[in-house]
Symmetry: C2
Subunit: 146 residues, 2 copies
């Protein structure tokens, strides 16, 4: 049976560093286009769950072993990724220790989430706005956020 | 640039009929394999959001215009669909009026969600269990459910 043609699917992770004051967040500088800063993440492989992909991509790009805490939302606007239509499931996670830029990440910054490095690529500024609302204790509502 | 090979992505919808006592739910009998009963839904097209796909599939299979209310969860176990690895975003929605089986649906049942028709295909029994928890007022936690 031929497989349906659908958007690609990715997992992105907002990593809170739980052992640092203010629980700052990890941003990576992308090695590949589009160039700029982003949340760690990447495409889901066939045969792995979206959650496993999120944990794997966080490990590959930052060296951190993350624990997923929440699904922030599903982001699927067709123009959100210039490489082609990609649906992203965005997770909030926590980790301890010192991240290091690896794999597709050429540099890494640890920042308060309201002071991200610039420029942020994709729709990650919008995702970060939704995360700041979640972090302020507003109810998580993936549908309205997505 | 070559596109990444990722799982297929689908949207499924739990449709509550808001104008009927007890707010029963719509199940469709599948025309295509795997045969059996399922929640309405289908593959996301390139160029449409996941939410738009959910509304479109509900319309195509039941004739109902649904309003999405919540994202129940993201289901991505590799073996959940015998046709190949498919990630499903499952929404809770409501609609009024009389649904009719259309398109890929050859029959349709309106049932209380704890009395679905049998057999339910894919991982829809598990999704329905999560929905029953949500409906009993337990907090929506897409991550733990997924």
């Amino acid at each position: 049976m031929s497989r349906p043609v659908t958007p690609a699917i990715a997992a992105d992770v907002i990593i809170e560093l739980s052992d640092r004051p203010g629980r700052p967040v990890v941003f990576i500088e992308r090695l590949n286009p589009p160039h700029g800063w982003a949340l760690p993440g990447g495409f889901v492989d066939i045969g792995e769950t979206v959650e496993a992909a999120a944990v794997r991509e966080a490990r590959e790009e930052t060296g951190l072993e993350v624990e997923l805490k929440a699904l922030l939302g599903c982001y699927s606007k067709p123009d959100r990724d210039p490489r082609g239509h990609t649906v992203s499931l965005v997770f909030v996670a926590e980790a301890a220790g010192t991240p290091e830029a690896r794999d597709d990440a050429k540099n890494l910054h640890i920042r308060p989430p309201d002071q991200p490095p610039a420029p942020l690529v994709f729709d990650h500024p919008r995702i970060l706005q939704h995360y700041l609302r979640y972090r302020r204790g507003q109810p998580l509502s993936p549908l309205n956020l997505g």
